[in-house]
Symmetry: C3
Subunit: 445 residues, 3 copies
Amino acid sequence: MAELAAISPAPPGTIGDELHALASELFPITRSVAGPGLRETLEILELTAGPMQRHRFATGDRVFDWTVPHEWVLRDAWIKDPAGRTVVTLGDSNLHVVSHSVPVHERLSLTELQPHLHSLPDQPDAIPYRTSYYEKAWGFCLSQRQRNALVPGEYEVLIDAELAAGHLELGEITIPGRTSQEVLLTTYCCHPSMANNELSGPVVVAALARMLRNRQNRPRLTYRLLFAPETIGAVAYLSRFGERLRERLVAGYVVTCVGSQAELTYKRSRLGDTLADRAAEHVLRHSTWPHRVIDFYPPCSDERQYCSPGFNLPVGSLMRGSYDEWPEYHTSLDDLSYVTPETLAESFAAYRRIVEALEADETLVVTVPYCEPQLGRRGLYPTTGGAWHVQQDRQRLEDMMFLLNYCDGEHDLLAAADRCGRPVWELRPVADQLVAAELLRLERH
Amino acid sequence: MAELAAISPAPPGTIGDELHALASELFPITRSVAGPGLRETLEILELTAGPMQRHRFATGDRVFDWTVPHEWVLRDAWIKDPAGRTVVTLGDSNLHVVSHSVPVHERLSLTELQPHLHSLPDQPDAIPYRTSYYEKAWGFCLSQRQRNALVPGEYEVLIDAELAAGHLELGEITIPGRTSQEVLLTTYCCHPSMANNELSGPVVVAALARMLRNRQNRPRLTYRLLFAPETIGAVAYLSRFGERLRERLVAGYVVTCVGSQAELTYKRSRLGDTLADRAAEHVLRHSTWPHRVIDFYPPCSDERQYCSPGFNLPVGSLMRGSYDEWPEYHTSLDDLSYVTPETLAESFAAYRRIVEALEADETLVVTVPYCEPQLGRRGLYPTTGGAWHVQQDRQRLEDMMFLLNYCDGEHDLLAAADRCGRPVWELRPVADQLVAAELLRLERH
Amino acid sequence: MAELAAISPAPPGTIGDELHALASELFPITRSVAGPGLRETLEILELTAGPMQRHRFATGDRVFDWTVPHEWVLRDAWIKDPAGRTVVTLGDSNLHVVSHSVPVHERLSLTELQPHLHSLPDQPDAIPYRTSYYEKAWGFCLSQRQRNALVPGEYEVLIDAELAAGHLELGEITIPGRTSQEVLLTTYCCHPSMANNELSGPVVVAALARMLRNRQNRPRLTYRLLFAPETIGAVAYLSRFGERLRERLVAGYVVTCVGSQAELTYKRSRLGDTLADRAAEHVLRHSTWPHRVIDFYPPCSDERQYCSPGFNLPVGSLMRGSYDEWPEYHTSLDDLSYVTPETLAESFAAYRRIVEALEADETLVVTVPYCEPQLGRRGLYPTTGGAWHVQQDRQRLEDMMFLLNYCDGEHDLLAAADRCGRPVWELRPVADQLVAAELLRLERH
């Protein structure tokens, strides 16, 4: 694993500042589901996350019900008004061009131009984000205010773009664990200049990858961190690795929209009570962060693919708010001021704690199942009895009693922790003491 | 099915007015569990509901633990006081005579008469309703006020009645469906002049029968609409058809007490989570009608037979209030002013919607279970993406995503609708679009 | 069963006064887990409870993970200060000596003495209760106020005690029932002068034993009433009789801390829904006593042994408050004024009612499962029908209908009672009427 040495340690300053700076660096790139913008994004993320394995799917390949689209290169785009003034230009915002627009250079009347324009009457200052991956078309997005200012006459439009056969490209980092059980942390990298949806996701996952690579010991579980275009990326990944996930995945999360100031929102997997759900809800329950838990529903992001009925994988999503609750979604208002270092840091901390909970969660089994073991002669209990309720380390003693009772082979450590209302990361050291005393042992499967 | 042409279409005016008028027509008839009053009632109901198949059970026949009683004909009845004045007469109310009284014509003192009199001290103006189907006895019911006015002396009483061997008679309408799965809508027709309990039930079921007969297409499910005397009628029906119900019944309802102004009250089946329960609760949840849902309990009406432990059928009851909550129950105060056209219409509408929900409730299965299907190339999704949350037909798109996810073979359409919090009658047209696009197909059993 | 005649009937006066007087008699005895104090205690309890079978376990014997400790005899103990004044003496309180202290007689400085002293800084007037059963050590407990008054200098300490091989001794009363199913009522008798924890437990169990012995008829279930030292007693008992309990025990309760004025608190068994739990919660639900129900957790008392994962028996505990909620716990403040005749009587009544519920709880099965039986011809229903909701014995009729519906072989009588919200001790006489009418019969296993 020489590659693990390649990544840099966390820079000085807070993790929140670092993640916000990384999002700022990625912000101007003209990303799309396939093409140079996506590749450049992955390369920048690798500087934080470490080298990624690339999975390529050729244009035109069938992945389940879908077809891999062309790569898209956008070099220039503008609209000139009847007076020859540039009224819309790619230089101002890469949201101005409908993603995957076919090339065009022609003159046409305002009336002919209108069907190619997209704006939001209710948000007159926002440029909407629109795509046309699977339909050959071109278009411009602009603010309603810009649109209202257009006068009748002949316009000149240019989209200097290319749609060419190539590859859909996914970046994956694998952190091998001591067991073959897998955890998936997936995010998407196909949106151009928008900060909460989506750059918050990739930067947090990059930081998680670095954290996992920098662990001193091999983790218990195998972690897969996936950077892929939304929808088609998840579909393509599942078409190649879905069977492996069905065999090995114990918990997965779609990491997206984690930079805004909305409350932490855990959306359950379709199954609803998988290890992914138990770990995320456990972390939130034992945190002081404002949060809520909501049930699975299909609209939103890639959980729709992972939780399609044929796969029905243990994949949830810890996000901030829900995509349909914030009006800045899919517009130019989702800019770098919409995400904060503080919320990025908090979201990172929440996912890190989920990883801790997953790592702690072994199934340990008590070796003395009939009556409690005598803790005193093992030096685990005060030799002078009776002082239980004024005992200084009473919490540790209570934890032991809980563990010796609930580690029965039917509760994993997370379930035992939930039975006694304690965070698993505080129970785990006590469990380790009991393992050392040979009162608990790892369950053999 | 020539017979289906025989019934008349709904008359002009509101359904509520029509049902109230029908109840008024039936009100004066002296009904009992067996005899001409019941037959006359069924014949009048047939003018609205269409022809009924009659099931006959001979007097003395054993049906489970019960014996079919005699037919009862009542021609005249009165009490004359010591001065020869008629103080109680059948002409005033057919509740005055205990149902199935044996004939009597004799003179007796007030003291001897008292044990044959029934009144309600707490409701001094109400004539109670009393029966003696299985015990040879006679009696008069009168208001407490009438009773208090009786002076000592010799009275003359006459009950010109006949108890004769004959038949218990049940009327049943069958609307054959495309499948053999059955729905039962049962009501009772044995009470004399009382409006909420019971005429509201028969008139609503008659209207439901007409509605089902007038459908353009054969329904999915087979409907059985049963008009029977209470208790003994249900027992007799189950003794002959219970096995068929056990094989085919998917939902049943005891339709009774649906005309008062009390809130809609759904009483669950004994099993509690059958299709009958899911459909009724779904309808109420997606309505604006005040309502409540209560668990099964044996006292009340024929659900006690259908839900006896040996049968334990999926039979609930949507009523208004519960029998033990209104003091007019089983008295002359339950008259035509106690039921309103508006509440009859609302109850009819609720049952009609239950039928709609049952009809809509097929089990459809997604044909693309691995990842979502690409809706765009089927013309089911806007070709320009990204506008999801400002999409005009977003509800339809969300419904599609829900259906493509939850139509997994384990959820029927009602269960899928409950997962997404949507009324099944709004989801069904979207499901039909997906069936047309071959993305959903009917589950083959 | 000649022995049953040996015990005396309840004395005049209230049961609460009697139990408080018995606790007062037991209070001064210097009890420990093994030794003469325990034996004397059992002998006094036998005067109320009747003769006990003694189970003996020899010092040094292994019981599961534990070793049976020595017997302890304490004859005298004191501390004399530098001026020769007795500042602590056993005569004042038997809590002054750490239980199972080894003998000592020596002179030592205050500094050398301090590690052997136990006090409670936060409760300056309370003498704590401390033990050292399994570690050879000696110590004195005293109030913080006493300790603060100690001046530097040479002290003389005496503990005239003996730790000798002998036996751990348990007292058990068995009341044989008509079936081999067993109920366990267990309490502990090892604490010296403390009233709520623990004398309240033994005195209530003694009264329950007398009540069971004095029954006219053999009970349905076999009752075992166990008086044992805490922890080691339960471990020892389970080592010898655990297999029998696993086969036969249907409900068990740890009877402890039942004399204080805290609310009745039922702590569920680890399984949570056993007959023990259903009966206790049923009793509390149908009582007017303030109460609460809490889930199992391992710390507390002997339920930790009975509910260890290997046994996982149906054992809960009805107590008053929880051990960690009252500061008097394990101190000299838990004296005879801390328990009241009223609460002892109420706790006894609650357990007596649990016994009634268990006795009533047979599984009866309806003999007419298809439709309801005709009650009228069996004289169980008024022959004049229709008066249901003004019926004087309507409760009895409703109870019959409930029983005839829910006694389906899947609900025992307690479950049927819970379905209809009625106390089982009121339903049982109605069930007996139905058994007499051959409408219910005892399930054959």
